[in-house]
Symmetry: C2
Subunit: 307 residues, 2 copies
Protein backbone atom coordinates (compact mmCIF):
# COMPACT_ATOMS: atom_id res chain seq x y z
CA UNK A 1 0.00 0.00 0.00
CA UNK A 2 1.17 3.49 -0.71
CA UNK A 3 0.86 6.22 1.87
CA UNK A 4 -2.12 8.58 1.70
CA UNK A 5 -0.81 11.86 3.01
CA UNK A 6 -4.11 13.00 4.49
CA UNK A 7 -4.15 9.86 6.63
CA UNK A 8 -0.69 10.60 7.97
CA UNK A 9 -1.77 14.12 8.89
CA UNK A 10 -4.93 12.79 10.58
CA UNK A 11 -2.92 10.29 12.62
CA UNK A 12 -0.46 13.01 13.72
CA UNK A 13 -3.31 15.29 14.78
CA UNK A 14 -4.84 12.53 16.83
CA UNK A 15 -1.52 11.89 18.55
CA UNK A 16 -1.23 15.62 19.25
CA UNK A 17 -4.63 15.48 21.00
CA UNK A 18 -3.64 12.43 23.07
CA UNK A 19 -0.32 14.01 24.10
CA UNK A 20 -1.83 17.34 25.11
CA UNK A 21 -4.52 15.68 27.22
CA UNK A 22 -1.93 13.42 28.84
CA UNK A 23 0.49 16.26 29.58
CA UNK A 24 -2.23 18.41 31.12
CA UNK A 25 -3.15 15.49 33.38
CA UNK A 26 0.50 14.99 34.35
CA UNK A 27 0.99 18.69 34.97
CA UNK A 28 -2.11 19.03 37.14
CA UNK A 29 -2.68 22.75 36.62
CA UNK A 30 -1.33 23.98 33.27
CA UNK A 31 -3.52 24.12 30.17
CA UNK A 32 -2.47 24.20 26.54
CA UNK A 33 -3.45 27.24 24.52
CA UNK A 34 -4.01 26.53 20.84
CA UNK A 35 -3.28 28.87 17.97
CA UNK A 36 -4.19 27.90 14.45
CA UNK A 37 -2.13 29.48 11.71
CA UNK A 38 -2.17 29.57 7.94
CA UNK A 39 0.97 29.62 5.85
CA UNK A 40 1.33 32.01 2.96
CA UNK A 41 2.04 29.66 0.07
CA UNK A 42 -0.03 26.78 1.42
CA UNK A 43 -1.02 24.87 4.51
CA UNK A 44 -0.87 25.74 8.15
CA UNK A 45 -0.90 24.19 11.55
CA UNK A 46 -2.01 24.18 15.13
CA UNK A 47 0.49 25.29 17.73
CA UNK A 48 -0.27 24.33 21.31
CA UNK A 49 1.70 25.91 24.12
CA UNK A 50 1.57 25.37 27.86
CA UNK A 51 3.41 27.93 29.98
CA UNK A 52 3.86 28.21 33.76
CA UNK A 53 2.27 24.91 34.69
CA UNK A 54 3.07 23.03 37.90
CA UNK A 55 5.50 20.70 36.15
CA UNK A 56 5.96 22.23 32.69
CA UNK A 57 7.56 25.67 32.64
CA UNK A 58 7.23 25.95 28.86
CA UNK A 59 6.17 23.28 26.43
CA UNK A 60 4.97 23.20 22.86
CA UNK A 61 3.23 20.40 20.95
CA UNK A 62 2.87 21.52 17.37
CA UNK A 63 1.16 19.97 14.41
CA UNK A 64 1.77 21.36 10.92
CA UNK A 65 0.81 20.47 7.39
CA UNK A 66 2.47 22.65 4.80
CA UNK A 67 2.61 22.55 1.03
CA UNK A 68 3.80 24.72 -1.79
CA UNK A 69 6.95 25.46 -3.70
CA UNK A 70 10.32 24.52 -2.27
CA UNK A 71 13.00 27.27 -2.09
CA UNK A 72 16.00 26.69 -4.38
CA UNK A 73 18.43 26.17 -1.47
CA UNK A 74 16.28 23.45 0.08
CA UNK A 75 15.84 21.69 -3.29
CA UNK A 76 19.62 21.53 -3.61
CA UNK A 77 20.01 20.27 -0.05
CA UNK A 78 17.38 17.58 -0.61
CA UNK A 79 18.77 16.61 -4.03
CA UNK A 80 15.35 16.89 -5.66
CA UNK A 81 14.42 18.74 -8.84
CA UNK A 82 10.74 19.22 -8.23
CA UNK A 83 9.10 22.35 -6.90
CA UNK A 84 5.98 21.09 -5.19
CA UNK A 85 6.23 19.66 -1.73
CA UNK A 86 4.01 18.46 1.04
CA UNK A 87 5.19 18.03 4.61
CA UNK A 88 3.31 17.16 7.75
CA UNK A 89 4.73 16.71 11.19
CA UNK A 90 4.24 16.71 14.90
CA UNK A 91 6.96 18.27 16.99
CA UNK A 92 7.26 18.81 20.70
CA UNK A 93 9.72 20.23 23.19
CA UNK A 94 9.10 20.34 26.94
CA UNK A 95 11.13 22.50 29.34
CA UNK A 96 10.17 21.36 32.84
CA UNK A 97 10.40 23.53 35.95
CA UNK A 98 12.18 20.92 38.03
CA UNK A 99 15.93 20.60 37.37
CA UNK A 100 15.83 16.81 37.87
CA UNK A 101 13.13 16.36 35.25
CA UNK A 102 14.78 16.26 31.79
CA UNK A 103 14.03 18.37 28.73
CA UNK A 104 12.49 16.18 26.04
CA UNK A 105 12.03 16.51 22.30
CA UNK A 106 9.98 14.35 19.95
CA UNK A 107 9.27 14.71 16.26
CA UNK A 108 7.52 12.61 13.64
CA UNK A 109 7.23 13.84 10.09
CA UNK A 110 6.32 12.86 6.55
CA UNK A 111 7.56 14.51 3.36
CA UNK A 112 6.28 14.03 -0.18
CA UNK A 113 6.85 15.40 -3.66
CA UNK A 114 4.71 14.34 -6.63
CA UNK A 115 6.20 12.53 -9.61
CA UNK A 116 7.51 15.00 -12.21
CA UNK A 117 6.25 12.85 -15.10
CA UNK A 118 4.71 9.46 -15.88
CA UNK A 119 8.10 7.71 -15.82
CA UNK A 120 9.11 8.72 -12.32
CA UNK A 121 7.95 7.83 -8.86
CA UNK A 122 6.90 10.40 -6.31
CA UNK A 123 9.54 11.13 -3.69
CA UNK A 124 8.40 10.38 -0.15
CA UNK A 125 9.90 9.57 3.20
CA UNK A 126 9.34 9.52 6.95
CA UNK A 127 11.64 11.02 9.55
CA UNK A 128 11.67 11.73 13.24
CA UNK A 129 13.00 10.75 16.59
CA UNK A 130 12.85 11.26 20.30
CA UNK A 131 15.68 12.40 22.52
CA UNK A 132 16.31 13.44 26.10
CA UNK A 133 18.34 16.30 27.56
CA UNK A 134 18.67 15.84 31.32
CA UNK A 135 20.07 18.79 33.27
CA UNK A 136 21.49 16.16 35.60
CA UNK A 137 22.19 12.73 34.18
CA UNK A 138 20.52 10.05 36.32
CA UNK A 139 21.78 6.66 35.04
CA UNK A 140 18.60 4.79 36.00
CA UNK A 141 16.52 7.24 33.93
CA UNK A 142 18.86 6.88 30.96
CA UNK A 143 18.61 3.08 31.06
CA UNK A 144 14.84 3.32 31.25
CA UNK A 145 14.59 5.85 28.41
CA UNK A 146 16.82 3.96 25.99
CA UNK A 147 15.26 0.61 26.89
CA UNK A 148 11.80 1.97 26.11
CA UNK A 149 12.98 3.25 22.73
CA UNK A 150 14.69 -0.04 21.98
CA UNK A 151 11.46 -1.89 22.73
CA UNK A 152 9.49 0.31 20.33
CA UNK A 153 12.14 -0.10 17.61
CA UNK A 154 12.63 -3.85 18.07
CA UNK A 155 8.94 -4.47 17.38
CA UNK A 156 9.55 -3.23 13.82
CA UNK A 157 13.12 -4.13 12.93
CA UNK A 158 16.01 -5.35 15.00
CA UNK A 159 18.59 -3.00 13.49
CA UNK A 160 16.49 0.16 14.02
CA UNK A 161 17.54 0.93 17.60
CA UNK A 162 21.32 0.54 17.12
CA UNK A 163 21.26 2.46 13.82
CA UNK A 164 18.98 5.25 15.00
CA UNK A 165 20.80 5.59 18.32
CA UNK A 166 24.08 6.34 16.51
CA UNK A 167 22.22 8.72 14.21
CA UNK A 168 20.91 10.63 17.25
CA UNK A 169 24.41 10.79 18.78
CA UNK A 170 25.72 12.31 15.55
CA UNK A 171 22.81 14.67 15.03
CA UNK A 172 22.40 16.12 18.53
CA UNK A 173 26.01 17.17 18.76
CA UNK A 174 27.19 20.66 19.66
CA UNK A 175 30.36 20.71 17.59
CA UNK A 176 31.81 23.94 19.00
CA UNK A 177 31.43 22.62 22.57
CA UNK A 178 32.45 19.08 21.66
CA UNK A 179 29.53 17.78 23.68
CA UNK A 180 26.24 16.09 22.88
CA UNK A 181 23.05 18.07 23.57
CA UNK A 182 21.90 15.39 25.99
CA UNK A 183 21.81 11.60 26.17
CA UNK A 184 20.44 11.23 22.64
CA UNK A 185 17.77 8.69 21.87
CA UNK A 186 16.80 7.80 18.32
CA UNK A 187 16.86 9.86 15.15
CA UNK A 188 16.00 8.77 11.61
CA UNK A 189 15.31 10.41 8.28
CA UNK A 190 14.35 9.48 4.72
CA UNK A 191 12.82 6.21 5.83
CA UNK A 192 11.41 4.30 2.85
CA UNK A 193 10.84 0.58 2.22
CA UNK A 194 14.20 0.51 0.42
CA UNK A 195 16.19 2.30 3.12
CA UNK A 196 14.44 0.57 6.03
CA UNK A 197 13.57 -2.92 4.78
CA UNK A 198 9.94 -2.66 5.98
CA UNK A 199 6.79 -1.76 4.04
CA UNK A 200 5.21 1.71 3.84
CA UNK A 201 2.42 0.42 6.09
CA UNK A 202 4.91 -0.64 8.70
CA UNK A 203 6.86 2.60 8.45
CA UNK A 204 3.67 4.57 9.11
CA UNK A 205 2.93 2.32 12.09
CA UNK A 206 6.47 2.84 13.34
CA UNK A 207 6.08 6.61 13.04
CA UNK A 208 2.85 6.48 15.06
CA UNK A 209 4.44 4.14 17.63
CA UNK A 210 7.25 6.66 18.21
CA UNK A 211 4.68 9.40 18.65
CA UNK A 212 2.71 7.31 21.13
CA UNK A 213 5.78 6.22 23.09
CA UNK A 214 6.43 9.77 24.26
CA UNK A 215 3.63 10.15 26.79
CA UNK A 216 4.18 7.07 28.98
CA UNK A 217 7.96 7.61 28.92
CA UNK A 218 7.84 11.26 29.89
CA UNK A 219 5.11 10.97 32.50
CA UNK A 220 7.20 8.22 34.16
CA UNK A 221 10.23 10.52 34.24
CA UNK A 222 8.09 13.33 35.69
CA UNK A 223 6.60 11.15 38.44
CA UNK A 224 9.95 9.66 39.31
CA UNK A 225 11.72 12.99 39.82
CA UNK A 226 9.32 15.80 40.47
CA UNK A 227 9.03 15.26 44.24
CA UNK A 228 12.83 15.53 44.77
CA UNK A 229 14.18 18.48 46.75
CA UNK A 230 16.44 20.93 44.91
CA UNK A 231 18.33 24.14 45.59
CA UNK A 232 19.11 27.42 43.83
CA UNK A 233 22.37 25.86 42.65
CA UNK A 234 20.45 23.18 40.79
CA UNK A 235 18.24 25.81 39.17
CA UNK A 236 21.28 27.82 38.12
CA UNK A 237 22.78 24.74 36.49
CA UNK A 238 19.48 24.04 34.74
CA UNK A 239 19.58 27.54 33.23
CA UNK A 240 23.12 26.96 32.03
CA UNK A 241 22.24 23.65 30.42
CA UNK A 242 19.33 25.33 28.70
CA UNK A 243 21.75 27.82 27.13
CA UNK A 244 23.46 24.88 25.41
CA UNK A 245 20.05 23.82 24.14
CA UNK A 246 19.66 27.30 22.62
CA UNK A 247 23.10 27.04 21.01
CA UNK A 248 22.24 23.71 19.40
CA UNK A 249 18.84 24.80 18.13
CA UNK A 250 19.97 28.12 16.66
CA UNK A 251 23.31 26.98 15.24
CA UNK A 252 22.74 23.39 14.11
CA UNK A 253 19.15 22.18 14.20
CA UNK A 254 17.98 21.36 10.66
CA UNK A 255 14.30 21.80 11.50
CA UNK A 256 14.90 25.29 12.89
CA UNK A 257 17.03 26.28 9.89
CA UNK A 258 14.42 24.89 7.49
CA UNK A 259 11.73 26.85 9.28
CA UNK A 260 13.65 30.13 9.30
CA UNK A 261 14.61 29.77 5.63
CA UNK A 262 11.16 28.76 4.38
CA UNK A 263 9.52 31.70 6.11
CA UNK A 264 7.78 29.48 8.64
CA UNK A 265 5.79 30.76 11.59
CA UNK A 266 8.56 32.11 13.84
CA UNK A 267 6.85 31.72 17.20
CA UNK A 268 5.97 28.09 16.40
CA UNK A 269 9.53 27.32 15.28
CA UNK A 270 11.19 29.03 18.23
CA UNK A 271 8.81 27.63 20.84
CA UNK A 272 11.62 25.12 21.43
CA UNK A 273 13.71 27.82 23.13
CA UNK A 274 13.66 27.77 26.93
CA UNK A 275 11.83 30.31 29.09
CA UNK A 276 15.14 31.27 30.70
CA UNK A 277 18.75 30.51 29.74
CA UNK A 278 21.95 31.76 31.35
CA UNK A 279 25.44 32.20 29.92
CA UNK A 280 28.29 32.67 32.39
CA UNK A 281 31.78 33.19 31.13
CA UNK A 282 33.88 30.04 31.23
CA UNK A 283 31.92 28.25 33.95
CA UNK A 284 33.80 25.31 35.42
CA UNK A 285 31.99 22.55 37.30
CA UNK A 286 33.53 21.64 40.66
CA UNK A 287 35.61 18.45 40.68
CA UNK A 288 33.52 15.37 41.50
CA UNK A 289 30.30 17.38 41.54
CA UNK A 290 27.07 16.14 39.98
CA UNK A 291 27.52 18.85 37.36
CA UNK A 292 30.94 17.54 36.39
CA UNK A 293 29.65 13.97 36.26
CA UNK A 294 26.92 15.07 33.88
CA UNK A 295 29.36 16.90 31.61
CA UNK A 296 31.65 13.87 31.49
CA UNK A 297 28.79 11.79 30.04
CA UNK A 298 27.76 14.23 27.31
CA UNK A 299 29.56 12.36 24.56
CA UNK A 300 28.81 10.10 21.65
CA UNK A 301 28.79 6.32 21.86
CA UNK A 302 27.72 5.82 25.48
CA UNK A 303 25.89 2.52 25.98
CA UNK A 304 23.00 3.95 27.99
CA UNK A 305 21.22 0.61 28.32
CA UNK A 306 24.29 -0.91 29.92
CA UNK A 307 25.21 2.08 32.08
CA UNK B 1 52.79 54.43 3.92
CA UNK B 2 51.81 50.81 4.08
CA UNK B 3 50.38 49.31 7.24
CA UNK B 4 52.72 47.43 9.56
CA UNK B 5 50.55 44.77 11.11
CA UNK B 6 52.43 44.67 14.41
CA UNK B 7 51.70 48.37 14.87
CA UNK B 8 47.99 47.80 14.35
CA UNK B 9 48.01 45.04 16.96
CA UNK B 10 49.94 47.26 19.39
CA UNK B 11 47.46 50.11 18.94
CA UNK B 12 44.50 47.77 19.51
CA UNK B 13 46.09 46.38 22.68
CA UNK B 14 46.62 49.88 24.01
CA UNK B 15 42.98 50.76 23.32
CA UNK B 16 41.95 47.56 25.11
CA UNK B 17 43.92 48.75 28.17
CA UNK B 18 42.34 52.20 28.07
CA UNK B 19 38.84 50.79 27.72
CA UNK B 20 39.19 48.29 30.56
CA UNK B 21 40.53 50.92 32.95
CA UNK B 22 37.76 53.32 31.96
CA UNK B 23 35.01 50.73 32.34
CA UNK B 24 36.26 49.66 35.75
CA UNK B 25 36.17 53.31 36.83
CA UNK B 26 32.64 53.73 35.47
CA UNK B 27 31.49 50.50 37.11
CA UNK B 28 32.93 51.37 40.50
CA UNK B 29 33.25 47.82 41.85
CA UNK B 30 33.74 45.26 39.08
CA UNK B 31 37.17 44.19 37.89
CA UNK B 32 38.17 42.62 34.59
CA UNK B 33 39.72 39.18 34.73
CA UNK B 34 42.20 38.49 31.96
CA UNK B 35 42.82 35.16 30.28
CA UNK B 36 45.55 34.79 27.73
CA UNK B 37 45.05 32.07 25.15
CA UNK B 38 47.05 30.56 22.34
CA UNK B 39 45.50 29.37 19.11
CA UNK B 40 46.42 26.04 17.63
CA UNK B 41 47.62 27.00 14.17
CA UNK B 42 49.00 30.39 15.17
CA UNK B 43 48.44 33.43 17.33
CA UNK B 44 46.29 34.00 20.37
CA UNK B 45 44.71 36.71 22.37
CA UNK B 46 43.78 38.22 25.68
CA UNK B 47 40.18 37.91 26.77
CA UNK B 48 39.05 40.26 29.51
CA UNK B 49 35.74 39.67 31.23
CA UNK B 50 33.95 41.59 33.94
CA UNK B 51 31.00 39.85 35.58
CA UNK B 52 28.60 40.99 38.31
CA UNK B 53 29.85 44.57 38.60
CA UNK B 54 27.70 47.41 39.91
CA UNK B 55 26.83 48.61 36.41
CA UNK B 56 28.08 45.83 34.12
CA UNK B 57 26.36 42.48 34.55
CA UNK B 58 28.58 40.81 31.97
CA UNK B 59 31.07 42.44 29.65
CA UNK B 60 33.95 41.28 27.51
CA UNK B 61 36.73 43.32 25.91
CA UNK B 62 38.78 40.96 23.79
CA UNK B 63 41.96 41.44 21.84
CA UNK B 64 43.11 38.79 19.40
CA UNK B 65 45.89 38.37 16.87
CA UNK B 66 45.59 35.19 14.87
CA UNK B 67 47.48 33.84 11.89
CA UNK B 68 47.71 30.64 9.95
CA UNK B 69 45.97 28.89 7.11
CA UNK B 70 42.48 29.91 6.08
CA UNK B 71 39.83 27.16 5.86
CA UNK B 72 38.55 26.49 2.32
CA UNK B 73 35.03 27.78 3.06
CA UNK B 74 36.35 31.11 4.34
CA UNK B 75 38.68 31.49 1.33
CA UNK B 76 35.70 31.09 -0.97
CA UNK B 77 33.63 33.56 1.06
CA UNK B 78 36.45 36.11 0.99
CA UNK B 79 37.19 35.53 -2.71
CA UNK B 80 40.92 35.05 -2.05
CA UNK B 81 43.15 32.25 -3.28
CA UNK B 82 45.88 32.45 -0.71
CA UNK B 83 46.19 30.27 2.36
CA UNK B 84 48.08 32.42 4.83
CA UNK B 85 46.21 35.02 6.77
CA UNK B 86 46.77 37.43 9.60
CA UNK B 87 43.94 39.04 11.53
CA UNK B 88 43.96 41.25 14.57
CA UNK B 89 41.00 42.80 16.27
CA UNK B 90 39.48 44.29 19.36
CA UNK B 91 35.90 43.35 20.12
CA UNK B 92 33.65 44.24 23.00
CA UNK B 93 30.11 43.60 24.15
CA UNK B 94 28.65 45.01 27.37
CA UNK B 95 25.44 43.72 28.96
CA UNK B 96 24.53 46.21 31.70
CA UNK B 97 22.46 45.40 34.77
CA UNK B 98 20.17 48.39 34.41
CA UNK B 99 17.38 47.99 31.84
CA UNK B 100 17.63 51.67 30.82
CA UNK B 101 21.36 51.38 30.05
CA UNK B 102 21.79 49.96 26.53
CA UNK B 103 23.78 46.94 25.39
CA UNK B 104 26.76 48.10 23.32
CA UNK B 105 29.06 46.41 20.83
CA UNK B 106 32.26 47.73 19.29
CA UNK B 107 34.74 46.06 17.00
CA UNK B 108 37.84 47.19 15.11
CA UNK B 109 39.81 44.74 13.04
CA UNK B 110 42.54 44.41 10.45
CA UNK B 111 43.00 41.52 7.99
CA UNK B 112 46.00 40.76 5.81
CA UNK B 113 47.19 38.11 3.36
CA UNK B 114 50.69 38.22 1.85
CA UNK B 115 51.18 38.60 -1.89
CA UNK B 116 51.20 35.20 -3.63
CA UNK B 117 54.03 36.23 -5.98
CA UNK B 118 56.14 39.23 -7.03
CA UNK B 119 53.46 40.45 -9.44
CA UNK B 120 50.65 40.74 -6.94
CA UNK B 121 49.89 43.00 -4.03
CA UNK B 122 49.13 41.72 -0.57
CA UNK B 123 45.43 41.73 0.31
CA UNK B 124 44.62 43.90 3.32
CA UNK B 125 41.67 45.75 4.76
CA UNK B 126 40.17 47.26 7.89
CA UNK B 127 36.70 46.63 9.23
CA UNK B 128 34.65 47.37 12.29
CA UNK B 129 31.89 49.42 13.79
CA UNK B 130 30.01 50.37 16.87
CA UNK B 131 26.31 49.85 17.51
CA UNK B 132 23.81 50.20 20.30
CA UNK B 133 20.99 47.91 21.47
CA UNK B 134 18.78 49.72 23.96
CA UNK B 135 16.26 47.60 25.86
CA UNK B 136 14.13 50.76 25.87
CA UNK B 137 14.67 53.29 23.11
CA UNK B 138 15.26 56.75 24.59
CA UNK B 139 15.26 59.23 21.66
CA UNK B 140 17.65 61.66 23.36
CA UNK B 141 20.23 58.86 23.80
CA UNK B 142 19.83 57.78 20.16
CA UNK B 143 20.43 61.33 18.92
CA UNK B 144 23.49 61.62 21.14
CA UNK B 145 24.90 58.25 20.07
CA UNK B 146 24.51 58.79 16.34
CA UNK B 147 25.73 62.38 16.57
CA UNK B 148 28.90 61.23 18.30
CA UNK B 149 29.54 58.64 15.61
CA UNK B 150 28.86 61.17 12.87
CA UNK B 151 31.41 63.54 14.42
CA UNK B 152 34.08 60.82 14.48
CA UNK B 153 33.32 59.85 10.87
CA UNK B 154 33.10 63.41 9.53
CA UNK B 155 36.64 64.14 10.69
CA UNK B 156 37.84 61.57 8.16
CA UNK B 157 35.42 61.66 5.26
CA UNK B 158 32.03 63.24 4.87
CA UNK B 159 30.37 60.20 3.25
CA UNK B 160 31.49 57.74 5.95
CA UNK B 161 28.65 58.28 8.41
CA UNK B 162 25.75 58.03 5.93
CA UNK B 163 27.31 55.01 4.17
CA UNK B 164 28.30 53.16 7.32
CA UNK B 165 24.98 53.92 9.03
CA UNK B 166 23.08 52.17 6.21
CA UNK B 167 25.58 49.31 6.35
CA UNK B 168 24.88 48.88 10.09
CA UNK B 169 21.10 48.91 9.49
CA UNK B 170 21.52 46.15 6.93
CA UNK B 171 23.98 44.11 8.96
CA UNK B 172 22.33 44.16 12.39
CA UNK B 173 19.03 42.86 11.07
CA UNK B 174 17.17 39.87 12.48
CA UNK B 175 15.56 38.67 9.29
CA UNK B 176 13.24 36.08 10.83
CA UNK B 177 11.84 38.71 13.22
CA UNK B 178 11.86 41.49 10.62
CA UNK B 179 13.41 43.78 13.20
CA UNK B 180 16.80 45.41 13.67
CA UNK B 181 18.91 44.25 16.62
CA UNK B 182 18.90 47.75 18.06
CA UNK B 183 19.32 51.29 16.77
CA UNK B 184 22.37 50.44 14.68
CA UNK B 185 25.34 52.77 14.51
CA UNK B 186 28.10 52.33 11.98
CA UNK B 187 29.49 49.22 10.32
CA UNK B 188 32.20 48.98 7.67
CA UNK B 189 34.34 46.28 6.11
CA UNK B 190 37.13 45.90 3.55
CA UNK B 191 38.21 49.50 3.95
CA UNK B 192 41.19 50.26 1.70
CA UNK B 193 42.41 53.51 0.10
CA UNK B 194 40.55 52.51 -3.07
CA UNK B 195 37.25 51.66 -1.37
CA UNK B 196 37.39 54.56 1.10
CA UNK B 197 39.19 57.36 -0.71
CA UNK B 198 41.56 58.01 2.18
CA UNK B 199 45.14 56.81 2.72
CA UNK B 200 46.20 53.73 4.73
CA UNK B 201 47.50 56.10 7.41
CA UNK B 202 44.15 57.79 7.69
CA UNK B 203 42.28 54.48 7.71
CA UNK B 204 44.39 53.29 10.62
CA UNK B 205 43.72 56.57 12.43
CA UNK B 206 40.00 56.16 11.71
CA UNK B 207 40.07 52.62 13.12
CA UNK B 208 41.74 53.91 16.30
CA UNK B 209 39.33 56.83 16.54
CA UNK B 210 36.36 54.43 16.46
CA UNK B 211 38.00 52.38 19.19
CA UNK B 212 38.59 55.47 21.32
CA UNK B 213 35.09 56.86 20.77
CA UNK B 214 33.52 53.98 22.68
CA UNK B 215 34.52 54.91 26.23
CA UNK B 216 33.25 58.52 26.43
CA UNK B 217 30.04 57.58 24.61
CA UNK B 218 29.22 54.61 26.81
CA UNK B 219 30.17 56.19 30.13
CA UNK B 220 27.85 59.09 29.24
CA UNK B 221 25.00 56.68 28.59
CA UNK B 222 25.72 54.91 31.87
CA UNK B 223 25.79 58.12 33.92
CA UNK B 224 22.67 59.44 32.25
CA UNK B 225 20.53 56.38 32.99
CA UNK B 226 21.90 54.31 35.82
CA UNK B 227 20.20 56.29 38.61
CA UNK B 228 16.70 55.83 37.15
CA UNK B 229 14.18 53.73 39.06
CA UNK B 230 12.97 50.52 37.42
CA UNK B 231 10.63 47.63 38.17
CA UNK B 232 10.51 43.88 37.67
CA UNK B 233 8.56 44.47 34.47
CA UNK B 234 11.47 46.45 33.04
CA UNK B 235 13.90 43.65 33.99
CA UNK B 236 11.66 41.05 32.35
CA UNK B 237 11.59 43.09 29.15
CA UNK B 238 15.38 43.43 29.29
CA UNK B 239 15.68 39.62 29.43
CA UNK B 240 13.40 39.30 26.44
CA UNK B 241 15.36 41.83 24.41
CA UNK B 242 18.53 39.94 25.28
CA UNK B 243 17.02 36.79 23.77
CA UNK B 244 16.82 38.62 20.42
CA UNK B 245 20.47 39.51 20.85
CA UNK B 246 21.21 35.78 21.23
CA UNK B 247 19.19 35.00 18.10
CA UNK B 248 21.12 37.54 16.05
CA UNK B 249 24.52 36.45 17.28
CA UNK B 250 23.96 32.71 16.85
CA UNK B 251 22.02 32.81 13.57
CA UNK B 252 23.51 35.75 11.62
CA UNK B 253 26.64 37.30 13.11
CA UNK B 254 29.57 36.83 10.72
CA UNK B 255 32.19 37.15 13.47
CA UNK B 256 30.55 34.43 15.54
CA UNK B 257 30.19 32.14 12.53
CA UNK B 258 33.84 32.78 11.53
CA UNK B 259 34.94 31.97 15.07
CA UNK B 260 32.92 28.75 15.34
CA UNK B 261 34.08 27.57 11.90
CA UNK B 262 37.78 28.40 12.35
CA UNK B 263 37.90 26.57 15.66
CA UNK B 264 38.29 29.76 17.65
CA UNK B 265 38.29 29.95 21.43
CA UNK B 266 34.62 29.26 22.22
CA UNK B 267 34.36 31.09 25.52
CA UNK B 268 35.92 34.22 23.96
CA UNK B 269 33.60 34.09 20.96
CA UNK B 270 30.46 33.46 23.00
CA UNK B 271 31.28 36.03 25.69
CA UNK B 272 28.87 38.23 23.69
CA UNK B 273 25.91 36.16 24.93
CA UNK B 274 23.98 37.67 27.83
CA UNK B 275 24.08 36.38 31.41
CA UNK B 276 20.34 35.73 31.25
CA UNK B 277 17.87 35.66 28.36
CA UNK B 278 14.17 34.76 28.38
CA UNK B 279 11.94 33.42 25.65
CA UNK B 280 8.19 33.61 26.20
CA UNK B 281 5.84 32.25 23.62
CA UNK B 282 4.36 34.94 21.38
CA UNK B 283 4.80 37.85 23.80
CA UNK B 284 2.77 40.89 22.78
CA UNK B 285 3.64 44.34 24.10
CA UNK B 286 0.68 46.30 25.49
CA UNK B 287 -0.71 48.99 23.18
CA UNK B 288 0.98 52.38 23.71
CA UNK B 289 3.43 50.90 26.23
CA UNK B 290 7.13 51.82 26.26
CA UNK B 291 7.82 48.28 25.07
CA UNK B 292 5.59 48.72 22.05
CA UNK B 293 7.15 52.09 21.23
CA UNK B 294 10.59 50.49 21.30
CA UNK B 295 9.51 47.65 18.99
CA UNK B 296 7.98 50.14 16.53
CA UNK B 297 11.39 51.81 16.13
CA UNK B 298 13.41 48.65 15.53
CA UNK B 299 13.53 49.07 11.78
CA UNK B 300 15.96 50.15 9.09
CA UNK B 301 16.29 53.70 7.82
CA UNK B 302 15.36 55.65 10.95
CA UNK B 303 17.03 59.08 11.02
CA UNK B 304 18.26 58.88 14.61
CA UNK B 305 19.96 62.25 14.52
CA UNK B 306 16.71 63.93 13.54
CA UNK B 307 14.46 61.89 15.85
Amino acid sequence: MLIIKEQVAEAYKQIQDEICLGLEAADGSGKFIEEGWVREGGGGGRTRILQNGSVIEKGGVNFSEVKGKLPEAIKMAFGVNNDDFYATGLSLVIHPKHPFVPIIHMNIRYFEMPAIDAHTEPVRWFGGGIDLTPHYIIPEDCRYFHNQLKTVCDAFKIDFYPKFKIWADDYFYIKHRQETRGIGGIFFDRLTPISSGISWDKILEFSKAIGRSFLPIYTSLIHKNTHKAFTEKHKEWQHQRRSRYVEFNLVYDAGTKFGLETNGRIESILMSLPPQANWHYDFKAEPDSEEEKTLALLKKGVNWIGI
